[in-house]
Point group: C2
Chain length 229, copies 2
């Protein structure tokens, strides 16, 4: 009977993580796989994708993942996640653009430009998220998230204090990403349109400064509220 069938908060989907060879992509793969989603790891070569899957199997034997070229991964994923360094954001997106139409792209890109990673250096478009949305056009629902989360913590089986600011032009897409944030064990917040990705992207350099200058590790942000008295 329908009423007795266990229903999940969100459908289990196939999630393609482009650049899933880094710490952040690996951490998200582990957490979303645990939540029941199917994971595809995309990379620029089949060898690198395979190496990432092998690495993932070593640090998390219970996380199955399929290695693919980025373009194939973008085609295969119901939802696509971009976790490449800032310098590769545009070239990676150009290579997968046609496969993203009608989909949500979760862009985790932070515009850190070495050596001054502790200094905010937003791109001329205002943010990496805005740059992705302009490049991909309105057919793709770009949503940015996870820029402030310590990648190492994502890979560990711990509660993460840091909240996630979720920016994007379509509320329905932000809602879906907030569900995915929660399935990864974090709290997500509607941060507004894609322009507002600037806040989370800039915050990453601020958190780097705080880690340097205060007696605190893996600093993050928590959204708090309070009533008038």
């Amino acid at each position: 009977m329908a009423t007795k069938t266990a229903t999940t908060a969100s459908a289990k989907q196939s999630i393609a993580i482009l650049g899933g060879t880094g710490d952040l992509g690996t951490g998200l793969a582990i957490r979303w796989s645990k939540a029941g989603h199917t994971i595809i790891i995309g990379s620029r070569t089949q060898e690198k994708a395979q190496a990432a899957v092998d690495h993932l199997a070593k640090i998390s034997p219970k996380t199955p993942a399929t290695p693919m070229l980025n373009a194939d991964a973008a085609k295969a994923g119901d939802i696509v996640v971009l976790t490449v360094p800032f310098a590769h954001q545009v070239s990676t997106l150009e290579g997968v653009k046609s496969a993203l139409a009608g989909k949500i792209l979760i862009d985790v890109t932070v515009p850190l430009i070495p050596p001054k990673v502790g200094t905010v250096q937003l791109p001329p478009e205002g943010s990496a998220g805005k740059r992705a949305q302009l490049l991909l056009g309105d057919a793709v629902m770009v949503v940015t998230a996870f820029q402030n989360v310590a990648a190492h913590l994502l890979q560990q089986d711990v509660h993460i204090e840091c909240d996630v600011l979720v920016a994007g032009n379509k509320k329905v897409a932000r809602d879906r990403v907030i569900e995915l944030v929660e399935e990864a064990g974090l709290r997500g917040w509607h941060a507004g349109p894609i322009e507002n990705s600037a806040a989370a992207e800039a915050l990453t350099s601020v958190l780097i400064q705080i880690n340097r200058r205060h007696d605190i590790s893996h600093s993050g942000l928590k959204i708090v509220g309070q009533e008038d008295h």
Copy 2:
């Protein structure tokens, strides 16, 4: 004996609040006056400055303040605070520039551009703080702070949950402002160089979105940290 003399964490100074006619300026005046500092309220006309002081006396009878024209206030203050709307930031600073040499300017400006105050719209310089520093030159130590704090809460005798990100190029100036943040009852953090003011300025629009879209009032941010496990 010197060792028995009570010493305060910071010297009591004269603080000139330019645009101290608004909620934020009033709130800071109340809290810093309580901490022992002398308050000057600056405005564009002597009448407006007097009206602000009268208003302050009404909501906080124990907060003495001296009304002055902005230029005189900037001269008289050991530390100068700018709390005018974004549209008046440049013209106000141009009028007081010569009085600020060698001083700390605490710039609270948030680049909110109506009607889309929930959308991040940072200026071409990258942030209002950077714009102030470029305009004033290196002789003035611009430090930005308080952009994310609900002005109404500052005026009330309550603990404020929201932390304060303190950006500026000189560490000694940020240290001083962090002391003043703490004297106002809040927690301040070294956010890095003036470019990093972009994070706090952009966050204000994000917090406006969160107030709209989540069941939370006066949302703010708290910096949290955690160790590896």
